[in-house]
């Protein structure tokens, strides 16, 4: 597998008056194509900051972020928007679907920003929601909404899926379903999946675990034999 993502000496500093917060402190790691990566850490460790930097939603203070040989830290706003459209699929804790679009319409919304041929029904079928295509988010359960969110993210065939606490608002049973789905996408479709979580149990299912604390990488563990999500003891 080839390296697709590289963080090199990345710092992210927030300044508020005299107060300085170093959210990322000399962060270095790589992620290979198709890896199922879990980023672990306590609240305030910098997990979401890392995801936002990788997803082009925030700009680093110093260092390099290289994705598919592109230095995204040098991108302009328009280039970052383009990068997100073509390379990144975001999945958030609270689903964040457009409430007055149906499940199908939320997925096909991606047609407006990418040239990829999107068959919304096929994508919904891949997450087991073809029969719910015409329902609005308010008519779906939390797990179903999250699956629509995943369908929306994968519909544009991104390079990577960035998931910020994707099961945080779900019960454990539904959470397992979602994580299963994400692991299948990584294993069967070769999609690079990066999941930010504070749930350490998920580490056993990951190809690579990046532990982060106080904005610094604590350790990076490579699992030679990652477990199936369904086999984890929650």
């Amino acid at each position: 597998m080839s390296t697709i993502i590289e963080f090199k000496n990345v710092d992210k500093i927030y300044k508020s008056g005299d107060h300085i917060l170093k959210a990322m402190d000399n962060v270095n790691f790589t992620i290979d194509e198709g890896e199922f990566v879990v980023i672990l850490g306590p609240s305030g460790a910098g997990k979401s900051t890392l995801l936002n930097l990788l997803g082009g939603l925030d700009m680093l203070t110093s260092g390099e972020i290289i994705v598919n040989d592109n230095h995204i830290e040098e991108f302009s706003d328009n280039q970052l928007t383009d990068y997100r459209a073509k390379n990144v699929g975001f999945i958030f804790q609270f689903y964040n679907l457009i409430p007055n679009l149906t499940a199908l319409e939320n997925v096909e919304l991606m047609k407006d920003i990418v040239d990829v041929d999107i068959n919304g029904l096929e994508v919904l079928e891949s997450v087991g929601l073809k029969d719910h295509a015409d329902q609005f988010p308010a008519q779906l359960s939390g797990g179903e909404q999250q699956r629509v969110s995943i369908a929306r993210a994968v519909a544009k065939q991104p390079t990577m899926l960035l998931c910020d606490e994707p099961t945080g608002a779900l019960d454990s049973k539904t959470g397992v379903l979602i994580l299963n789905l994400l692991q299948d996408m990584s294993n069967n479709q070769g999609t690079t999946v990066v999941i930010v979580t504070h749930n350490a149990i998920l580490a056993h299912a990951a190809d690579k675990v990046i532990r982060i604390k106080n904005g610094q990488i604590e350790c990076i563990v490579i699992n030679e034999n990652p477990k199936k999500v369904a086999d984890l003891e929650w």
Binding site: L57, T81, K86, N100, E105, D112, I113
Partner: protein, 367 residues
């Protein structure tokens, strides 16, 4: 897909957006409607004045003879003249209606505008061409006879034609602002119909080049003492009264729509501010998915745009078709014109475009 979102958002806030649409529609509807009416008045009366070659000015004198004519002709700026004898008479009816008689020399300036009957014949000694409003009020028609009394004379003439005059678009007595057409009117006759030996012309209708002020100065300089007064077109009672009426309508066309348009923009501003504030998370998601800032901004700006555009177009179409029809019947009871048709002005489109542009700016600032 964002269009579907927009339509559903508008439907969700239908009360506010319906108000925006209605105010935008009403603003343009009133502006184009009352504007169409007032522009129509201007166009119709200007055409009437052109068709009848309304005089640029009237020179009043006790006796306008050939020498007087020659002197006026020598002013240089004069390019057309016609003498008239204008006298007040009483028509032979029970209510003693006042009829202003015009004994015209050749009916080339401030011409009689024929509606029914024969054209004015300068050689006809027995014919009279009568004010249509008076004729209608008295049930008179072509072929009837009518008698007028003025000074020591009493003359009976046959009605040869019925019509209008550009000098009587507004014609009311001193005692009443609203005309009573059964009590007053006008009539045109050939100078040959005058019962005396010579016609004591007392008005010279003139057409001249240059401004009225210049012409007045010329008259003053060359003919001071030889004439009583000079009335330029804009000072003529009928012309000025109608002109003021048009001005009032134009003012109305300008003021009322401003209120509607401002209300529309205010509702749009508050509605869009609330929607955008409420949808901040959705905006963030769209950005995270890869929508450009410009696309997102255009999406929200278009909410008001389409409604104001549709409202404006409907206002532009329906306004001039309907509002003038409400005004013209009441106007035609006071003013006399041969035609009452609304007219179009590009100003209506400019105002609609300005409002559409304002809606874009308002939505932009809400964003």
């Amino acid at each position: 897909m964002l269009k579907k979102k927009m339509i559903r958002d508008i439907r969700r806030h239908k009360t506010q957006f319906l108000s925006i649409f209605l105010m935008a529609f009403l603003g343009v509807f009133v502006f184009a409607g009352v504007g169409g009416e007032s522009v129509g008045l201007e166009v119709n009366v200007d055409k009437f004045y052109d068709d009848t070659n309304l005089a640029d000015g009237w020179i009043y004198s006790n006796y306008i003879n050939d020498l007087f004519l020659e002197q006026v002709n020598c002013l240089g700026a004069t390019n057309q003249m016609e003498r008239q004898l204008v006298v007040d008479s009483i028509a032979d009816f029970s209510n003693d209606p006042e009829i202003t008689l015009h004994f015209v020399e050749n009916n080339t300036i401030s011409k009689f505008y024929l509606i029914d009957g024969e054209p004015v014949d300068i050689n006809d000694k027995n014919g009279v061409w009568l004010d249509k409003s008076f004729a209608d009020a008295k049930g008179l028609k072509v072929g009837d006879n009518i008698t007028f009394k003025f000074e020591d004379y009493k003359i009976e003439k046959e009605i040869k034609g019925i019509g209008y005059s550009p000098e009587y678009v507004y014609h009311a007595s001193q005692s009443s602002v609203i005309p009573d057409f059964s009590k007053l009117g006008f009539a045109y006759m050939s100078y040959k119909a005058f019962p005396g030996d010579t016609v004591p012309y007392n008005v010279l209708n003139v057409k001249f080049d240059g401004t009225a002020e210049n012409y007045n100065d010329l008259l003053d300089y060359h003919m001071d003492g030889y004439y009583n007064s000079f009335v330029e077109r804009s000072e003529h009672t009928s012309v000025s009264q109608f002109s003021e009426e048009i001005d009032q309508h134009q003012m109305m066309a300008g003021i009322f729509p401003v209120v509607f348009i401002l209300i529309a923009m205010l509702i749009l501003l508050t509605t869009m501010t609330r929607i955008i504030a409420h949808q901040r998370t959705q905006i963030g998601i769209l950005k995270a998915c890869g929508f450009k800032d410009k696309s997102i901004m255009l999406h929200y700006i278009s909410y008001g745009f389409w409604l104001v555009l549709i409202g404006s177009i409907l206002g532009l179409i329906i306004g001039p078709m309907t509002l003038p029809k409400l005004f013209y019947p009441s106007m035609s009871s006071t003013y006399i014109l041969p035609s009452w048709n609304p007219a179009w002005s590009m100003n209506f489109v400019y105002v609609a475009l300005a409002m559409i542009l304002m809606s874009l700016l308002v939505s932009y600032f809400a964003f």
